[in-house]
């Protein structure tokens, strides 16, 4: 099963104004840099972006914010971004804030055909407003629904032409669940391999969840908070 596309242009074909996109990554870690650049180039607008964070002013999803391509962000935490703040406070940008665990589980649910599930997270807070509350074992929970996207765009360390993906370190984060939840899932990888080169025991995302895969290039992998100690 060959999922390979020639380049980022081909990978992003069909992404249109007004679509809902899932974008993998946590902060600037594990984000699909090539595809984000291509979205800027395509200048698609009115996007709803589901991503744990919104990048920084000049990197990650911040690049799309600069060009006002995003209509709505669905995230758990959106600090570190002045342009984001300006657009949000001025009402140009809609923001839906979701507890991080609920965001991850809602993406997984979307990919796994689970339309809704109960979680204790957010009970008694404004997150619970309008949501069904039910007690289990004496503890109140709220009903959360699945999330899906027209396109999910993820970044992996290694991948093969069958779409199987392996992530590195904490760059895994939201990428595997989002890969499951995209109607079309695009994977960009640092290293693209032939079938059989990945050990089938060590694959994080089975290729069935991926529709298009390509060899990324020029990864900057910017570090948001460089913290070190002295030898």
């Amino acid at each position: 099963m060959n999922k390979i596309v020639a380049n980022v242009e081909e990978a992003c074909e069909g992404i249109q104004d007004g679509m809902t996109l899932m974008i993998g990554g946590f902060g600037l870690c594990g984000i699909p840099e090539n595809s984000i650049s291509e979205l800027v180039k395509l200048n698609v607008t009115g996007l709803t972006c589901i991503s744990n964070n919104a990048g920084v002013d000049d990197f990650g999803l911040g690049l799309l914010l600069q060009k006002k391509q995003i209509k709505k962000m669905i995230s758990s935490y959106v600090g570190e971004n002045d342009e984001f703040e300006r657009q949000m406070l001025s009402g140009e940008l809609e923001v839906d804030l979701i507890p991080q665990g609920s965001l991850a589980e809602r993406c997984r649910a979307g990919g796994a055909g689970i339309p809704a599930f109960f979680t204790p997270a957010g009970y008694g807070t404004e997150v619970a407003e309008g949501k069904e509350v039910r007690e289990f074992d004496g503890k109140p929970h709220i009903l959360e629904s699945a999330l899906t996207a027209d396109f999910a765009i993820v970044k992996a360390w290694k991948g093969d032409t069958a779409g199987n993906l392996v992530f590195k370190g904490t760059a895994r984060n939201f990428n595997p669940m989002m890969a499951m939840a995209g109607k079309i899932t695009i994977a960009e990888v640092e290293e693209l391999l032939e079938p059989g080169e990945l050990n089938p025991n060590e694959i994080h995302t089975p290729g069935i969840f991926v529709q298009r895969i390509f060899q990324g290039k020029g990864y900057e992998k910017r570090i948001e908070q460089r913290t070190v100690r002295q030898k």
Binding site: S76, Y77, G79, G101, T170, K221, I223, T227
Partner: protein, 218 residues
């Protein structure tokens, strides 16, 4: 004398028990890792996807693919494991993490906590805090007893939008160690040299004082 942030962290570190998995929030909680007693074996979980988090890397050894939930570069200890965000919150929601330490803007005497939103100010989001407080069996709040305006952060009821309801078990501030019990904040320990009266004055919520209140040992 009131504790500084490092001393608050140091006092919280005394609560840790061998075999516990611990999630430390940003700010004072992060400092707790610096004060683990010898012989106490705990493992740190960071909700972005690592168990067995180690110290910051040496200069030049930073790996952009290895960060903590505060987006800081970190290292992994032997026996560490990486996982995705759904699995991470399965650990948290499923109560496999024995202790969560996090900061707060307000705590109520019934254990409510507010730490993510100030109306009228920029809202950055709750991150993983709502999952953490709703799930953890054992939550310690690390914070200053009063805010910059000198107002108590231990209240009858929270004025800010809540992060979680009835979930805080213990609070360690610059002035005191308190437990949330039926009826209010039970004073367990005073900071060295801080009087019960000073703590009373700094606490808006119901303060329960039973017998002599010992000083913390740091």
């Amino acid at each position: 004398m009131a504790l500084n942030k490092n001393e608050i962290a140091q006092r919280i570190a005394q609560e840790l028990q061998s075999g516990w998995y611990v999630n430390l929030g940003i700010g004072i909680p992060t400092l707790v890792a610096n004060y683990i007693s010898k012989g106490i074996e705990v493992e740190f979980q960071s909700e972005n996807g690592i168990l067995g988090m180690g110290p910051f890397p040496f200069e030049g050894e930073e790996d952009a693919d290895l960060i903590n939930a505060g987006k800081q570069t970190i290292t992994a200890l032997p026996g560490a494991v990486y996982f995705d965000s759904a699995t991470s919150f399965a650990m948290i929601r499923g109560q496999h993490v024995q202790l969560t330490v996090l900061g707060a803007m307000e705590v109520s005497e019934t254990g409510d906590i507010a730490n993510w939103k100030i109306p009228g100010k920029m809202v950055k989001g709750m991150g993983g805090a709502m999952d953490l407080v709703a799930s953890a069996d054992n939550i310690i709040v690390a914070m200053m007893h009063t805010n910059r305006a000198g107002e108590s952060k231990l209240l009858k009821s929270c004025s800010l939008p809540l992060t979680g309801v009835g979930c805080v078990k213990k609070i360690v501030t610059n002035l005191a160690v308190l437990e949330v019990v039926k009826g209010g904040f039970k004073l367990l320990e005073r900071a060295p040299g801080v009087s019960v009266e000073e703590i009373k004055a700094a606490t808006e919520g119901t303060l329960i004082i039973e017998g002599d209140i010992p000083e913390m040992k740091l």
